[in-house]
Symmetry: C2
Subunit: 468 residues, 2 copies
C-alpha cells in the first residue's frame, strides 16, 4: 500500500491561517503531500513609509487604480494580422532599430543587445559583417529607440529592424494596437544576442515562408482572441512567459484549418507546422504584445500608481507608472539566479534583459507561476516555489484578475496591477522569471532563472508619486 502520510486534513475546521514570516528554514516543500507551504519574503516596511491614499491635489489613488485595472481587465487583445515592422509600427523609419527596455545608447548597450543589433544590421543588408555592423551602430546613422516607445515589445534583446515581420495585436475594446516579432526558438537566436549564418538563414525563412503563411491564415481565419487563449493556457500549465507549451498548441489548433485552406504547398505547410511545433516558446511573442495591448489603455489615468511597463535592456531595469506614463524610473539590471545550459555558468551571464516582464505587469508570467508548476524545473526551483511566488505577489498588486485564474488556487484570479505604494509599504519586490543571455555579443542563450526587480527604481517612483 502506498504511504498513508499524505492523507492530510485540517482538524481545526475551515479557517486555520498560518503565516510564516520568520526563518525560511521552517518552511520546506511538502508538495509531495499536496500541501503548499508559503514562505512570505517579508521585511518590515522601511522606516517612514507613509500610507498614501490621495494625491496632493486631493484625488483618490484607489479610485484611479480601480479605473486602471478595470481598463486592463476589460481589454480584448486579438491577433488581427501580420505585416513588416516598417509598414505598421508607428514612428519607425527605414533606419530605426528598436530594442527592449528603457532608452539606451549604443555605448551603454550590453553584449547581447549589441549582438542582436549587429545581427539585425547584417540581416537588413546594410552591412556585410558584424564588425561593419558595430561601426555603423556607433555612427549617428541609426536611430535606437525602445520598443515601448512604439507600442511594441520584444523578448530578451528585443531588437526589431524595419524588414522584420511582426504580429499586429489589436485591443478591440479600446482600439489600440501592439506589435511583436515572430519567435525564433531557443539557442543561437538573435534575441539572445547571437548572429551568424544560422541566425540570418532562420530569419530569412521566417520572413519568406513563415510570415506569409501566417498572414494568409490570419486573414482567412479572422481575429483570434488572445485573452481567451491566455486564460486557457493558464489552465493548462503555462504561465505564458517562460512556459508557452499550451499556448503554442492552442494557437496551432486555432490557425490550423485556415493554414490548410490558404497554403497551397503541402510541404511548405508541413515546415511551418514543424517550426511552430518545434518551439514551445512560439506563443511568447503573442502573450507579450497581448499584455502590452491590455496595459496601454491604463496609461495617463491621473493618480494611478500601478505599473504599465516593466522592462530591461540588459544594462538598466525600467518601470513606468499609469499616472505618469512617459517617465522611466530606472536602476541597474539585476543578476539572474538560475540553471545553466551545459558548458555555461554564472560568469557567462548577462544581467536581466527583455520586455517580457510585460507579462508580469499584466498579471500573468511570473505572477501566475502557481499555474505552471513545470516552470519550476526550467528556472531551477520547486513546485512550492512556484505557488509561493504567486501568493506573495498578491501583496503588491492592486487587484485579482477576473479573466485569468489559477486552477490549483481554487480558480483565484491572478495578481494584477503592481502598485508602487504596496511595494514601498511591504518591501516586497516583483518576482520575475526569465531566460539568461550570454554577456558577449554573438553567443546566445545560456540558461534561465529567477530574480527580483531592483528596489531603487520603485523607491524613486514612490517618491515621485508622493509629489503628485
Amino acid at each position: 500500500m502506498a504511504s498513508a502520510s499524505n492523507q492530510l486534513s485540517d482538524f481545526f475546521g475551515r479557517s486555520v491561517t498560518v503565516i510564516n514570516i520568520g526563518l525560511a528554514g521552517f518552511v520546506e516543500s511538502v508538495g509531495q503531500q499536496g500541501i503548499p507551504v508559503v514562505d512570505v519574503d517579508w521585511r518590515p516596511p522601511a522606516e517612514g513609509v507613509l500610507k498614501i491614499t490621495h494625491t496632493q491635489s486631493g484625488n483618490s489613488i484607489d479610485d484611479a487604480n480601480d479605473e486602471a485595472v478595470a481598463r486592463i481587465m476589460a481589454g480584448r487583445p486579438m491577433i488581427v494580422g501580420l505585416d513588416l515592422a516598417r509598414q505598421v509600427i508607428p514612428g519607425m523609419t527605414d533606419r530605426t532599430i528598436l530594442h527592449a527596455g528603457p532608452p539606451i545608447s549604443w555605448e551603454r548597450m550590453c553584449g547581447p543587445t549589441r549582438g542582436a543589433v549587429m545581427g539585425a544590421l547584417v540581416y537588413e543588408g546594410w552591412v556585410e559583417t558584424p564588425q561593419g555592423a558595430a561601426e555603423l551602430a556607433a555612427s549617428d546613422e541609426i536611430t535606437f529607440d525602445p520598443c515601448h516607445h512604439h507600442h511594441a515589445v520584444g523578448p530578451m534583446a528585443g531588437v526589431i529592424s524595419p524588414s522584420m515581420p511582426v504580429w499586429i495585436i489589436e485591443n478591440i475594446e479600446f482600439g489600440n494596437r501592439a506589435y511583436c516579432t515572430l519567435n525564433e526558438g531557443l539557442g543561437k537566436v538573435l534575441r539572445y544576442g547571437a548572429f551568424g549564418e544560422e541566425v540570418y538563414t532562420r530569419l530569412h525563412w521566417m520572413a519568406d515562408v513563415l510570415y506569409p503563411s501566417l498572414a494568409a491564415a490570419v486573414e482567412r481565419s479572422g481575429p483570434i482572441d488572445l485573452r481567451a487563449m491566455i486564460a486557457q493556457a493558464l489552465h493548462m500549465g503555462d504561465e505564458c512567459h517562460n512556459r508557452n507549451r499550451a499556448g503554442t498548441s492552442l494557437l496551432l489548433r486555432a490557425l490550423g484549418p485556415a493554414m490548410a485552406r490558404t497554403c497551397e504547398d503541402g510541404e511548405q505547410l508541413a515546415q511551418v507546422i514543424e517550426f511552430i511545433d518545434g518551439n514551445d516558446h512560439f506563443f511568447l511573442n503573442l502573450s507579450m504584445p497581448a499584455a502590452k495591448a491590455m496595459l496601454e489603455p491604463a496609461e495617463g489615468i491621473k493618480g494611478a500608481t500601478i505599473l504599465t511597463v516593466m522592462a530591461r535592456n540588459g544594462t538598466d531595469f525600467g518601470i513606468r507608472i499609469a499616472g505618469d506614463p512617459e517617465r522611466w524610473f530606472t536602476a541597474p539590471a539585476g543578476i539572474v539566479e538560475g540553471l545553466y545550459l551545459p558548458g555555461f555558468n554564472a560568469d557567462d551571464a548577462n544581467p536581466d534583459i527583455g520586455d517580457s516582464t510585460i507579462t508580469e505587469t499584466a498579471g500573468f508570467g511570473g505572477f501566475a507561476m502557481a499555474a505552471a508548476p513545470a516552470i519550476a524545473n526550467f528556472v531551477g526551483g520547486t513546485v512550492q516555489d512556484a505557488v509561493n511566488a504567486t501568493l506573495e505577489m498578491y501583496e503588491i498588486c492592486f487587484a485579482e484578475h477576473n479573466h485569468f485564474t489559477i486552477p490549483t488556487l481554487g480558480y483565484r484570479g491572478t495578481p494584477i496591477g503592481i502598485d508602487v505604494r504596496f511595494v514601498a509599504e511591504t518591501g516586497i519586490l516583483p518576482k520575475l522569471n526569465t531566460g539568461i543571455a550570454h554577456k558577449e555579443p554573438g553567443v546566445g542563450m545560456v540558461g534561465a532563472g529567477v530574480l527580483h526587480a531592483p528596489k531603487q527604481c520603485f523607491s524613486e517612483a514612490f517618491e515621485a508619486v508622493k509629489s503628485w
Copy 2:
C-alpha cells in the same frame, strides 16, 4: 492590497501531518488559499479481513504484483496505424458487434448500449431502420462480445462494428496490440446510445475522410509515442479520461506536419483539423487503448492481485485480476452523481457505462484527477475534490507510476495497480469520473459525474484470491 489572509505557512515546521477521518463537515475547500485539505473517505476494515501476503501455494503476492506493475509501467504504447475493425481486430467476424464492459446478452443490455447497437446495424447497412435493427439484434444472427475479449476498448456503449475504422496501438516493449474506434465528439453520438441520420452521416464522414487522412499521416510520421503524450498531458491539466484538451492538442501537433504532407486537398485537411479541434475528447480514444496495451502484459502473472480490467456495460460493472485474467467478477453498475445538460436530470440517467475505466486501471483518469483541477467543473466537484480523489486512491494502489506524474503533488507518481487486497482492507473503493448517457436508446449524452466502483465485485474477487 489584495487580502493577506492567503499568506499561509506551517508554523509547526516541516512535518505536520493531519488526517481527517471523521465528519466530512470538518473539511471545506480552502483552495482559494492554495491549501489542499484532504478528507479521507475511510471506514474501518470489514471484520475478519485478513492481510494476505502469500497464495495458498506459497507464492509471494507482493512479488507477483511487483512484476505486474513493472510490466505495466515498462509498456510503451505507440500509434502504429489505423485500419477497419474487421481487418485487424482478432476474432472479429463479419457479424460481430463488440460492446463495452463484461459479457451481456441483447435482452439484458441497457438503453444506450441497445441504441448504439441499433445505430451500428443501420450504419453497417444490414437493416434500414432502428426497429429492424432491434429485431436483427434479438435474433441469433449477431455475435455480441466484449471489446475486452478482443484486445479492444470502447468508451460508453463501446460499440465496434466490422466496418468502423480503429486506431492500432502497439505496446512495442511487449509486442501486444490494442484497438479503439475514433472519437465522434460529444452530444448526439453513437457511443452515448444515439442513432439517426446525424449520427450515421458523421460516422460515414469519419470512415470516408477522417480515417484515410489519419491513416496516411500515421504511415508518413511513423509510430507516435502515447506514453510520452499522456505524461505530457498530465502536466497540462488533463487526466486523459474526461479531460483530453491537452492530449488532443499534442496529437494535432504531432500529426500536423504528416497530415500536411499526405493530404493533397487543402479543404479536406482543414475539415479534418476542424473536426479534431472541435472535439477535446478526441484523444480519449487513444488514451484508452494505450491503457489497455500497457495493462495486458500483466495478465496471467500467477498470484498478482491487481486489476487489469475495470469496465461497465451499463447493466453490470466488471473487473478482472492479473492473476486470473479471463475471469470476470461483476456487480450491478452504479448510479452516477453528476451535473446534467440543460433539459435533463437524474431520472434520465443510465447507470455507469463504458470501458473508459481502463484509464483508472492504468494509473491515470480519475486516479490522476489532482493533475486536472478543471475536471472538477465537468463532473460537478471542487478543485479540492480532485486532489482528494487522487490522494485517496494511493491507499488502494500497489505502486506509484514512474512515468505519469502530477506537478501539483510535487511530481509524485500517479497511483497505479488497484490491489483487491487493499480495497478489502481499507474499505476504499475506486473513484471514477464518467460521462452520463440517457437511459433510453437513441438519445445520447445527458451529463457527467463521479461515483465509486461497486463493492460486491471486489469482495468476490478478494474471496477468490484467498483460495489461490
